[in-house]
Symmetry: C2
Subunit: 425 residues, 2 copies
């Protein structure tokens, strides 16, 4: 029952996985009956210190994949090249592949899953979304019989850490980012996280599984957290909301709509409780009602645990010695543009305190069929601030209203617009 594991990538997750494969070998064998043997770890930089003995290091990933004593390939290098080629060549050799590479999956998922299905080989990716939280298998298997209506999640730990610091400690964005970088929660170049790009790739994968239809990442609307100000976090608090970077996917007869953007979330909502680098995903469907999964969204140890679960499952199937039936099936229907989705907005307007200001603002909203749910005024005179929350209306109408508000003489600035999620209608 020996399974030779070839590991591509020896960084945070890969290094931890190598360590676990070596140190927990006996425990895994006892619990699962599978004798996992690490055959090698392909790394880019040969001289860096690692969590595992250097004799496992190999420098040519393409050779590791080909080695006959490698039965199963784990791809944790990230990026598209050469990961895509390596995964395809492993599948072609009939070797199961485990990957945590959301970028690769969100760009080339259909090609990779088709190849795996064609070869009757497993392609598993539990660690690609939600770090250590089991999400992929519950969505694709346990809930295979449910018509999921909506997935709402905090799927990026870095940005949730930053937003929690801004919210609780009143830090400015750049201060919170620097703190995240010091603690290793954010990379030196944080763009993928703070731009919403990482969350968008995960949202595309979750939507694909939830609705059984592939969503190309280019169809995911994306707005990051770099423009968020502590002023709005304070106002949000006063109004009973927290601010979170959310990935939202919902089903409709015109196809799924998928987006990532900051949102005001009512403080009583379960997602408002997720703090620091944790992640959480909230699923809604007609039969299950509401399901919530919470846990560590990132980090080497939790993520390596998710990979290890996939390694054990794929090994079990590999040892059964037969063509594996594909777990995920993706249709190719329409994807709905976010501009058509009904949203609610919070707006912060800097206004002149002239008579009839609110009437002029209300008439702009009215002209775009957006109605105002509530209004608060802060301050007076030329420094007056108006906070508005709208009722549900199409996103494009909100945008058009926002543009027209900018043109009003009495509006000095549309200082912030943030969507609102989960509020009572």
């Amino acid at each position: 029952m020996e399974i030779g594991v070839g590991l591509l990538g020896g960084g945070t997750v890969g290094g931890e996985l190598a360590k676990r494969l070596l140190e927990d070998h006996a425990a895994i064998l006892a619990k699962s009956g599978i004798d996992l043997r690490l055959r090698g770890v392909a790394v880019r930089e040969l001289d860096k210190p690692r969590l595992f003995p250097s004799r496992y290091i190999v420098d040519r990933p393409e050779v590791l994949v080909l080695m006959p004593q490698v039965d199963l390939v784990v791809e944790l290098m990230g990026g598209v090249d050469p990961a895509r080629e390596l995964v395809l060549s492993a599948l072609d050799l009939g070797k199961p592949v485990i990957t945590a590479n959301k970028e690769l999956l969100s760009l080339h998922g259909p090609e990779l899953f088709a190849r795996a299905a064609d070869k009757g080989v497993s392609l598993l990716f539990e660690a690609a979304v939600g770090g250590g939280i089991p999400l992929i298998r519950p969505l694709s298997e346990s809930l295979a019989g449910e018509k999921i209506e909506r997935v709402t999640g905090i799927v990026n730990g870095t940005t949730n850490y930053i937003l929690t610091a801004m919210d609780s400690d009143g830090m400015a964005y750049h201060e919170a980012l620097a703190s995240a970088q010091r603690l290793g929660y954010a990379e030196a170049d944080p763009t993928a996280d703070v731009s919403g790009g990482d969350a968008a790739a995960k949202a595309a994968i979750l939507a694909g599984l939830a609705f059984g239809q592939w969503v190309n990442i280019t169809r995911v609307y994306r707005e990051g957290i770099t423009e968020l100000s502590t002023v709005d976090m304070k106002f949000a608090h006063q109004l009973g909301y927290g601010v979170k970077l959310l990935a939202v996917a919902d089903a409709s007869s015109q196809g799924p709509a998928v987006r990532v953007h900051p949102a005001l979330v009512p403080t009583g909502h379960p997602l408002a409780l997720i703090r620091g680098a944790n992640n959480g995903v909230f699923l809604e469907g007609p039969s299950i009602g509401e399901l919530l999964f919470l846990g560590p969204g990132a980090g080497g140890r939790p993520t390596a645990t998710a990979v290890l679960g996939d390694v054990i499952l794929a090994s079990r199937e590999f040892l059964a010695g037969t063509k594996v039936a594909p777990r995920v099936r993706f249709g190719n229907g329409a994807v709905r543009d976010f501009s058509e989705v009904e949203t609610q907005w919070y707006l912060r307007l800097e206004v002149r305190d002239a008579p009839g200001v609110l009437a002029q603002i209300a008439s702009v909203f009215g002209a775009h069929q957006v109605s105002i749910k509530s209004v608060w005024q802060e301050g007076r005179g030329d420094g007056a601030t108006l906070l508005l929350i709208t009722h549900h209306a199409r996103e494009d109408r909100h945008r058009a209203a926002g543009r027209d508000l900018e043109k009003l003489e009495v509006v000095r600035q549309v200082a912030a617009t943030i969507r609102v999620i989960g509020a009572s209608p």
Copy 2:
């Protein structure tokens, strides 16, 4: 890709499943590629109104299992007889079995899983614990590589509904039970729920999966909610706790210890947030840290969704046409007795207000090596009430101290003892 489904049981969950198999046939086919055909529903009472057309009703379950057009059997009748025989005969015929029968599994799991492994057939049971919450597959597959240290869960919706009503609405136990019965959350004979028996079966199953070792239900310590008083719920509140019926399983070098009992849970703990008939399970491990799963713990629709997920997975495997590798492996090690586990207790003592009362009480605890964490006194004179919370000490020492307290002249009554969970040490 046609799969004939034979359904044993047409009650709350079975009726809902039959309805879904018929109504959602096209949607399931589109999403999963599996053409599920309901071949018949075996029911005990032939004349009751059902959620599905009566032409599907059959009266002899053993014939339904044998029918060649039945490829897969779903057992939702509950109880051990004749469920056990029917499941075994289906497995013997090479037919995958899906069951939600926690009683059957907790009593005869090893026999059933051995038979399924022997025949290379799936025996799936996602719906047996946690209703619509995916728990079984995350525990047995996604977390297969984790050394889970503790499982703490609210796994019985009926008792959680009753405790929520006692806690929020100040209802007495019998009032809350009657309300649960009116709303269909509790059965006419609520014994299995309120005694902790249902939760104990689920705890045994969860422990088996978490630790890879079978725990016989007779080894699960069990205490129900029938003795709980609203007085203690009020005191608990004042001290910053809610009262929940918990299933707790933890690993130790002497084997797992598994128990079900009411417990004081700090109000900030995620399990304290679970209200009404919802369920939630909290997992702890060295690599994943903490994971939480929340959702509907009971009810026909969520539970049928969990069953349906298993039906689709088993069908996929059945269609792949090969011997299925067993998912669950159970060792046969020692089970640790609850009396050896370290616990914390809340005690409510009715005492005489004599000089030196506390000194006498403290010396009893001291004699049993239990130390007191905090004490509150309510009232004076002969009606004085003393509330104590102890530090961690072995359960059997707590019990011995409790017995000796009863013997003290100054203690009129040990009016309540409830364990405390999740508090800072």
